[in-house]
């Protein structure tokens, strides 16, 4: 039987990918930021997940204003790194797991989630930067990936509560999958950032750290944070943190934090990262 063995959350700032792609991670600007991922890279090498369910958002790459799915699950065989305007990131193709993806999609629809199934799409920094952070720069990614793209660009995104509940439904789906698989779920995006307007550059380290605390201590508080609070407190793009709640919802009632990292800034953004393990 497939098991969700861990949850990982991290920011997915494009500059993090660029720093890795250009060999600049040891520069003073970047050193401390990347140091916080070293623990996880060693841990992932030991964990060897078979599949990562990777919750991210498309940044006007695969989806434009003509097609806006709230929850799109990638059911394809493979996904290419997208050209977001500076050429595709030089990373391996992402290998999907259509068997597991379709299983999750079907199960979540029976569970009354209104999924969109997508089989052909390119994936942008939202998906590839977390892979680079956790796995470094291998020739092939060490596991398969089920992309789960969440609309957080056009308002309204799904509520935190809906995201959390989807995570719970994904956990039920994985638990009913007959193959013996080590599955992780990652939530990406955030933390504080605002990429637009005169208020750009907003960072709220206190709020972010309380969010990190309560992923462990009080996730039920987090699922009820209204959108407006993310925007007021953490900047307009802080809304991406609702995606972390899908990850958290999939881990069950209690979790233990194995590793935690918070660094300001990466470009315009507060980088947050946490590794969680379900307990009991």
């Amino acid at each position: 039987m497939a098991r969700i063995t861990a949850g990982v959350a991290c920011s997915h700032v494009p500059a993090l990918g660029a720093a890795m792609d250009n060999g600049r991670t040891q520069e003073p600007y970047w050193h401390n930021c990347f140091a916080g991922f070293e623990w996880t890279r060693a841990w992932e090498a030991a964990q060897k997940p078979d599949v990562v369910i990777l919750v991210y958002n498309d940044h006007a790459t695969a989806f434009d204003m003509d097609f806006i799915p709230t929850f799109a699950i990638g059911c394809g065989e493979r996904y290419k790194s997208a050209d977001e305007g500076w050429g595709p990131r030089p990373v391996p193709d992402v290998i999907g797991d259509p068997d597991l993806a379709w299983h999750i999609a079907q199960s979540c629809i029976l569970d009354e989630f209104d999924m969109t199934m997508v089989s052909r799409m390119d994936v942008d920094h939202g998906l590839t930067v977390p892979l680079s952070l956790m796995f470094g720069q291998p020739d092939v990614w060490p596991c398969r990936v089920v992309p789960l793209a969440v609309n957080v660009v056009t308002y309204p995104p799904p509520s935190g509560n809906r995201c959390y509940a989807l995570g719970e439904a994904i956990a039920r789906a994985v638990a009913s999958y007959p193959e013996d698989l080590n599955v992780q779920i990652w939530g990406t995006g955030g933390m504080s950032h605002q990429l637009q307007g005169p208020r750009a550059g907003l960072i709220n380290a206190e709020w972010d750290n309380r969010f990190l605390d309560d992923l462990v201590n009080d996730p039920q508080r987090l699922r009820h944070i209204p959108h407006i609070e993310y925007l007021r407190e953490t900047g307009s793009e802080g809304i991406e943190m609702v995606m972390w709640l899908i990850m958290r919802g999939a881990l069950g009632k209690d979790v233990r934090a194995l590793h935690r990292h918070y660094h300001v800034p990466a470009s315009n953004t507060a980088v947050g990262h946490i590794v969680l393990e379900p307990v009991g």
Partner: protein, 136 residues
């Protein structure tokens, strides 16, 4: 859902944040062709054509004059006002080979060095920046 379940009340709250244009569907509709133009820059051949003649390339799109001018001026605040979204607009500054940090800083009215220094020092504080109606 926590917060309002009435969409008008929900949208009204989003308008209460200083220095921020939330990408509501009203903005999305206004900016449709501006954003579609931006998407076209995901193809290298289109980036080359745009660079070779920005005005001519823009004139191929049913954009408003204000939208075209905002692009030509790289005035990203104006582009947001015209319905642009930052993830679409990113295709322009990527074409310019400018980073998110550089491009986003231009919207704040700060000098690039000052914006970068503010970020390194921990970023902009939310204090007083949370609400237009009653700043806190």
């Amino acid at each position: 859902m926590s917060g309002p379940t009435d969409i008008q009340q929900y949208l009204a709250e989003l308008d209460d944040i200083p220095g921020t244009r939330v990408f509501t569907t009203a903005r999305a509709r206004k900016g449709y062709w501006l954003n579609q133009f931006c998407m076209s820059l995901m193809k290298p051949e289109n980036r080359d054509r745009f660079k070779a003649g920005e005005r001519a390339y823009l004139d191929e799109w049913p954009m408003t004059e204000a939208q075209k001018q905002a692009v030509l001026d790289r005035d990203y605040n104006a582009a947001l006002d015209e319905g642009g979204n930052i993830y679409f607009l990113a295709k322009i500054f990527s074409t310019d080979e400018i980073s998110f940090l550089q491009a986003v800083g231009t919207m704040t009215g700060m000098r690039a060095e000052d914006y970068q220094a503010m970020m390194i020092a921990g970023g902009r504080s939310p204090v007083g920046q949370r609400s237009k109606k009653e700043p806190y």
